[in-house]
Structures are given as structure tokens and as C-alpha cells.
């Protein structure tokens, strides 16, 4: 059924271009991210945290969903960005944008260094190595308590107004604007990347790393590049959290955070960018609601949700939505 219409839009070239085109649902989605300003002005702090988590999940999607690099220690870069941005402001540089860029760059540099190890492993070995790296960094931050505040967290973070015009208000208006803008711009970069020849090559590595050298592809170099980019993005997410909440706790480096972002991505659907964003929204809203009902046992419901999704929507919620939409379109031509 598809071939005829594909030929009509210009053969092979048109087919690939159609895949990269902006869909109406995408535009609608990004417009909808502005709704909290109107509908839930009391929840803008939560909305800001969702945008930050979404950015973190998108960064994991680049390495896990696209290149097939499993990580259980992605919080290492998130935490690195958070502490960098926090410390930067604590020691007198409270301008948010430069702090954000610096924190992101530092996380990228550390990611680049780590990528030389990462590029040599796959699967289970990678889980162990990324887990180990995460633990190393967390304990390092814990023991450097004079600098990081240790278990008490980093205190005394102050932010100057954004562009020296918009102070970070109690309601989170500036915070959400700032986080959402960072998410959107980074998402644009990630979207272009995944639609590029580089992105195709990453999917090739995910699908069959053995075949890639037989196509003349330096797959380890590619893995190093994407790992560096993902680390910088994760660092940016961490920096945003530090700057919008004015505190950094050891939790930003924790195993729990690494595991949560993995859960969020799988929930939403890995390898499709919007999966991480959707997962972040569902997870964070569910956590907010469940912990309101029962602050002690809310992970019970998250556990149930996770099992239900894996059982009934094995490729994530987004894939399930896609399927449902396709069925709907077929029924009403």
C-alpha cells in the first residue's frame, strides 16, 4: 500500500525527507508545553523539573536509544553539571547562562575522557563500568564535603536574574521559561543529530556493531562523539536543576537518579527522542500525585506502572500511541 504513495512524493529521496519533516503532532506538543503558564501557574516549579528531567532523558536516549550504549551511571554527568553550576555561583559568579554553558562543557570534557573506556565495551560490561563510574563520582563528592557540603548539600547558591532582567521568582515562572528554552534548543540539536548521517550511523552501531567496520566505519570514534555530546547535555540538565532550585544535594549523583532516568526513557520509549520527554512528564506527574496520596509507598505505584507498560506496550508508551494512531487513521480514511 505504501509504495505507490512513496513514489508519488519523490521516490527514495522523498521517503527519507518525509521522515525528517516536522509533524503537526510535534508542533502541537511544543505549543502545549506553554500551557502550564496559563492552566497551572501554581505548578511551574514542577513543570521546570519535568523539563530538566526530560532533557536528562533525551541525553540518555542519544546513547542508549540510538547508539545502543547501556548506562546505569548517567547521573555522573548530571551531578557534575549540577555541582559545577552550584559551586560557580557560590563562589561569586551568579550569571546563569555562562554558568550553564561552563557546567555543560565540563561534563562534556569528563564524558569525552570516559568515552575512551566506554567505546571498548558493550552490554553487561558497560552496565558495570557506568555503574562503577557513577559510584566513584558520588563517593568523591561525598568525601570532598568541604567543597560540596557532603550529605548536607551545597548551600549558598545565588542566581543573578536571567539576562539581568528576569529574577528567579518563587512561583517558578522564570525557572520554567529558562528550563523549557534549554530543553527546546537542545532538543532541536538532538533532533537534527538523529536525522543526520551521523545519527544513521549510530543506529547502525546499535543494530550491528560487528558489521560497521565491514562498511569502513570507525564505530568507536562515533561512540566517543555521541557519548561526549550526551554527557554535555546531561551536565546541562544538572546545571539547570542547581540554578533553579538553588541547592545541590548528593542525590544528583546517586544510583537512584541513574536508574530513574533509565526507567523514564524505557517508559516513554527509547530511540525516538520524544519518548524521554513523554516519560519524564508521566513519571514526574505520577510521582507528584502518588506521593501526595501516600508519601511513603509511592514507588509501589511506579513499579506497577513500569510492569504494566513493559507487558502491554513493550516499546514504550510512545510506540503504543503511534500504533493506536495508525489504527485510527486506517479506520477513518
Amino acid at each position: 500500500m505504501a509504495t505507490v504513495s512513496l513514489e508519488a512524493v519523490g521516490g527514495a529521496h522523498g521517503y527519507l525527507r518525509a521522515q525528517t519533516r516536522w509533524r503537526r503532532s510535534e508542533i502541537a506538543f511544543w505549543l502545549a508545553t506553554l500551557l502550564p503558564f496559563l492552566l497551572f501557574p501554581a505548578y511551574l516549579q514542577l513543570a521546570s523539573q519535568i523539563a530538566i528531567t526530560a532533557l536528562f532523558a533525551v541525553s540518555l536516549d542519544l546513547i542508549l536509544g540510538y547508539a545502543g550504549i547501556v548506562s546505569l551511571g548517567h547521573a555522573a554527568f548530571f551531578g557534575l553539571g549540577a555541582y559545577t553550576a552550584g559551586l560557580f555561583s557560590k563562589f561569586g559568579w551568579g550569571e546563569p547562562l555562562s554558568g550553564l554553558i561552563l557546567a555543560s562543557a565540563l561534563a562534556g570534557v569528563v564524558g569525552y575522557a570516559a568515552s575512551f573506556v566506554i567505546a571498548h565495551f558493550r552490554h553487561l560490561a558497560l552496565i558495570m563500568i557506568t555503574l562503577g563510574m557513577g559510584l566513584l563520582l558520588q563517593e568523591a563528592a561525598n568525601s570532598a564535603s568541604e567543597l560540596t557540603g557532603g550529605v548536607d548539600g551545597l548551600q549558598g547558591v545565588r542566581m543573578r536574574p536571567l539576562f539581568e532582567l528576569f529574577p528567579f521568582d518563587l512561583w517558578g515562572r522564570t525557572a520554567y521559561t529558562y528550563s523549557l528554552a534549554a530543553l527546546f534548543l537542545t532538543f532541536l540539536v538532538a533532533r537534527r543529530l538523529t536525522h543526520s548521517p551521523f545519527g544513521l550511523s549510530l543506529r547502525g552501531i546499535r543494530e550491528n556493531a560487528v558489521r560497521m567496520p565491514a562498511l569502513g566505519a570507525p564505530s568507536r570514534t562515533r561512540v566517543r562523539q555521541v557519548y561526549t555530546i550526551a554527557a554535555a547535555m546531561a551536565g546541562m540538565a544538572g546545571a539547570l536543576l542547581a540554578q533553579t532550585t538553588l541547592t545541590v544535594s548528593l542525590e544528583v549523583l546517586s544510583f537512584q537518579r541513574s536508574a530513574d532516568v533509565l526507567v523514564i526513557l524505557i517508559l516513554g520509549g527509547a530511540g525516538r527522542l520524544y519518548g524521554g520527554v513523554l516519560g519524564a512528564i508521566i513519571y514526574m506527574v505520577a510521582r507528584d500525585q502518588f506521593s501526595g496520596i501516600n508519601p511513603q509507598y509511592w514507588y509501589f505505584w511506579i513499579g506497577l506502572l513500569l510492569i504494566a507498560v513493559v507487558l502491554f506496550l513493550p516499546n514504550g508508551i510512545l510506540a503504543g500511541l503511534d500504533r493506536a494512531a495508525a489504527r485510527f487513521r486506517r479506520r477513518s480514511p
Partner: protein, 257 residues
Amino acid sequence: MNTPGPASSSILATVGLQKSFGSLAAAREVSVAIPPGVRYALIGPNGAGKTTLINLMTGMLRPDAGRIFLGGEDITSVPPAERVKRGLARTFQINTLFPRLTALEAVTLAVCERQGHASTWWRSLPAYRDAIDEAYAILGSLALGADCYRLTRTLAYGQQRLLEIALALATRPKVLLLDEPAAGVPRGQSPALFGAIAGLSRDITVLFIEHDMDVVFRFASRIIVMVGGRVLVEGTPQEIAADARVREVYLGQTRHA
């Protein structure tokens, strides 16, 4: 460096290749010299070291001793991906494809890798119209044009075998090594597959491993026979058919079977 080089007229050559897996010698003193443009068959009983030789030539295995030359250049210590860039491509006996890429995406990927675009992340794939058109043309030449929008894993087995060849062709090889291209394809269909191989440009030198002797004698202009990790004999199909040692190996086998 002191090892004497092969005849300069050969496009692909090995000199004294050795490879052992524990006590099993999979390649012993293998020296072959393949002139450009020829269709070579590599035959021999199971375990003769045919796939090992391809793995050594492409760099997927490191030889214990000996040297490999591509177009007169010593490539013994050149990594596999770089050998592909210099014009040495291969296919795999067991489908080694990209299950969740469409056939078009997979071949476009191979073309982009060859053209050096695959590290570009800031331009969208459709901007590389040449690469896409070339990929589509390669798929078309192997009768995969109509199915190129399907995911690789949904293609029929025979189509996947052709996609193996399409991926190798996308690297624009000077030498193409085909490890049992018709493995698993119903016997009746393998001539069609070899027809596609025979139709390849004469600029591409082909070495293929194949067990079906009808196919070998129909499509090869020269034959190398390997037994027990050694090259037993090399010659034209007529010479091989008449060779007493080859008959010994093959007829001896059938008699015992």
C-alpha cells in the same frame, strides 16, 4: 618487509599466511595471488580454512605469520575499516545486517560512510541526495528497489542475502569477498543470486566461497581448492576438474559419506 612481495600484477595477494586456533592450524603457508577482474571460487571441504582465509584478508583475524597485499600495498597491519576504505569488501556467511534499519537506510549508511559524510551531525540526511540516489540504484540493480522501504528484518531470506551484497557494493570495492553468498537459499534460487554476482562490473574482482559445484563451474573463471588449511591446487575449472588430488578429496569424501 624482507618477505618477498607477490607478483605485482595481482590485486589481492597473500604470502605465507599462518593462523592457528590452539592446536588447530586453520591456515598453513597460504599464498595466493589474485589478478584483477577475475571471478575466483574458493572451494574445499568443511573446516578447510576458507572462511578463516577471508577473515585474515579482511583483518577480522590477525595472522600468526605471513603478509597480505592489496593492490601491491602491504595491508597486514591495517585495521579492518581502513581495508574497506582501500577497496576490500566482504559479505558474511550468516546474515550480518541491521534488522531495524530499512534496506534503503542501511545501504545509504554504507554510501555515506564511504563518502565520509557519516560523521556529519548538523545536516539532515535528505541533504545527501547523491548518496540516497546511489543507494537506491544499487538496491535496484539487485532487484531490491521495490522493497527498499521495508525493515531489513521483514525481508525474505533471499532478499537479505542480496542486501548483504548491496552493502558490500556500496563501499565501491575493488575486491569483493563473498562468504557463501547463497548459504541457506533454496538450491533452485542460487543461480539467480549468482546471476546477479556475474552481472557485476568487471572492475570488481570477486572471490566467492561456494559448495555447489554446478554453480562454481558455471560462474568461476578460476578456482582455489583448500584442504586442511593449505592451498591444495589453483587453476581453471577444466584443470581443477581433471586434477587427481581434487578428485581424491571430493570423491573420497562422498565414498565415505
